[in-house]
């Protein structure tokens, strides 16, 4: 049997040592004092007000635990008085010491870049845990440097190594372009392709890769952060998303590999972005995966939906 403590802890008056173990009723005029069967009004100096669940009289007591009701004499249990809950403690967040790239001033440029690249590819969780969110400029520099240099190298290598294949494609297009029905468009394509294959154009495109890398990085971070915010997964703001996206550019060193490097690099980038979102935002694996993959999943789902609609429409059309 439990009594309900409904009053706050009252101030005890000093020098009133005659307060008995049993609680005594409240002062004259109170609900408790007017209740039938009450003790005569007296000065009440208990610390806690309690209500007997049997007789519903209110009494005061200085102690909690098992005791008897001073009115009806039935046993009851006075719970611990309500204590105000402590204010919510701030989350203790251990800020990373900085990735090797962010500490390149002490490690050296190439050592910092190499160690960061190695950690991103082999120990991404450790790298993202060490990333500092106030080093956005350094992270931007790592991503733009890594992406643009290897992208430019890849363009030049592709031009050198795949020149024969490109030339055959150009001859094929030139042969097809002799057809007067499709000549204008193909001739224009041929001209554009020829212009884009000149060394000047390749070097110009290679020189512009830092700009492309910069824009693509911020677009990727913006879309990823928008989706994460929609899914309530952006716990630590845009800098955390940006750090994840920036260090996820490490696999783009594979852009230097002609033909297939960009495929492997892009898939690796998406996976690393998910790991980065999980660590930098301190969210669940599912939340991170959803934040990164939802745009792709939406497009795929729409594709299947559209395919199904087209299939049904086609079947209905072909049925007699």
């Amino acid at each position: 049997m439990a009594a309900s403590a409904f009053g706050a802890r009252r101030e005890s008056r000093p020098g009133n040592s005659r307060l008995p173990r049993r609680g005594r009723h409240r002062a004259h005029g109170t609900e408790a004092a007017l209740a039938p069967g009450c003790l005569p009004p007296d000065v009440l100096e208990g610390a806690v007000l309690a209500r007997c669940p049997s007789c519903h009289n209110t009494f005061s007591t200085e102690q909690s635990g098992r005791q008897t009701c001073p009115v009806c004499g039935k046993p009851l249990l006075v719970p611990e008085p309500n204590v105000a809950p402590p204010p919510p403690a701030a989350e203790l967040v251990r800020e990373g010491a900085g990735t090797p790239w962010e500490r390149r001033a002490e490690l050296g440029f190439w050592t910092g870049w190499g160690q960061t690249l190695q950690q991103a590819l082999l120990e991404p969780g450790r790298l993202f845990a060490e990333a500092r969110l106030d080093r956005g400029a350094a992270q931007l520099g790592f991503a733009v440097f890594t992406t643009s240099v290897f992208w430019a190298v890849g363009q030049i290598l592709e031009r050198m190594l795949l020149h024969g294949q490109t030339e055959r494609m150009r001859q094929l297009i030139a042969a097809v372009a002799q057809n007067p029905d499709i000549a204008p468009m193909l001739k224009r394509m041929l001209q554009v392709q020829t212009d884009a294959s000149t060394p000047e154009a390749v070097i110009s495109l290679a020189a512009l890769t830092p700009v492309f890398a910069f824009v693509l990085l911020y677009l990727n971070a913006g879309v990823t952060h928008a989706v994460a915010a929609l899914l309530r997964q952006a716990k630590r703001g845009f800098p955390a998303t940006f750090a994840a996206c920036a260090y996820s550019c490490a696999p783009l060193v594979l852009l230097a590999v002609p033909a297939c490097g960009w495929i492997v690099g892009t898939i690796w980038l998406v996976i690393l972005t998910g790991i980065g979102m999980k660590v930098t935002h301190r969210i669940s694996t599912a939340g991170a995966a959803a934040s990164v993959l939802v745009p792709y999943l939406l497009i795929c789902c729409l594709g299947f939906l559209a395919m199904g609609t087209l299939a049904v429409t086609l079947r209905n059309t072909l049925q007699p």
């Binding site: 956005g136 468009m185 394509m189 677009l219």
Partner: protein, 134 residues
């Protein structure tokens, strides 16, 4: 929207402003309707003959930077909104670099904002579907 006193823009504010400005400049300068750029067809539309979420964004930016707002909204309402946001953010960041000591107060998006954004994306896609319907 309220404003607060603020110092110089952050790195990411500068980066996002630069990205927006570059996209608007590219939309203004590049001939998106002539080869080679016109040959980059949307793979989703090529496979399904339906527009994707992002279809019309390039043209929306192109029309918006040239002041043809009705055409921009017609191409993609969400694209026109994004182009406007990019222009405003780039301009505001430039002003802050020049010494303007105010920045908009941006609170974390609440549930209503998140739902509104999701609905805006879906509504934009439905508009694109209806616009391209035979």
């Amino acid at each position: 929207m309220s404003f607060v006193r603020a110092g110089p823009p952050s790195v990411h504010a500068l980066g996002l402003a630069g990205t927006g400005a570059l996209l608007l400049l590219a939309a203004a300068a590049l001939p998106v309707d002539t080869p080679l750029l016109a040959l980059f067809a949307c793979p989703f539309r090529a496979a399904t003959s339906l527009p994707c979420f992002g279809c019309g964004l390039t043209h929306a930016f192109q029309f918006a930077i040239r002041g043809q707002l009705a055409s921009a909204v017609s191409s993609s309402p969400l694209g026109a909104l994004l182009a406007g946001a990019a222009a405003v953010h780039a301009l505001w960041t430039a002003l802050r670099l020049a010494g303007l000591p105010y920045a908009p107060r941006i609170a974390p998006p609440g549930a209503s904002w998140r739902w509104a954004c999701a609905l805006a994306v879906v509504a934009n896609w439905i508009y694109l579907l209806l616009r391209n319907a035979p």
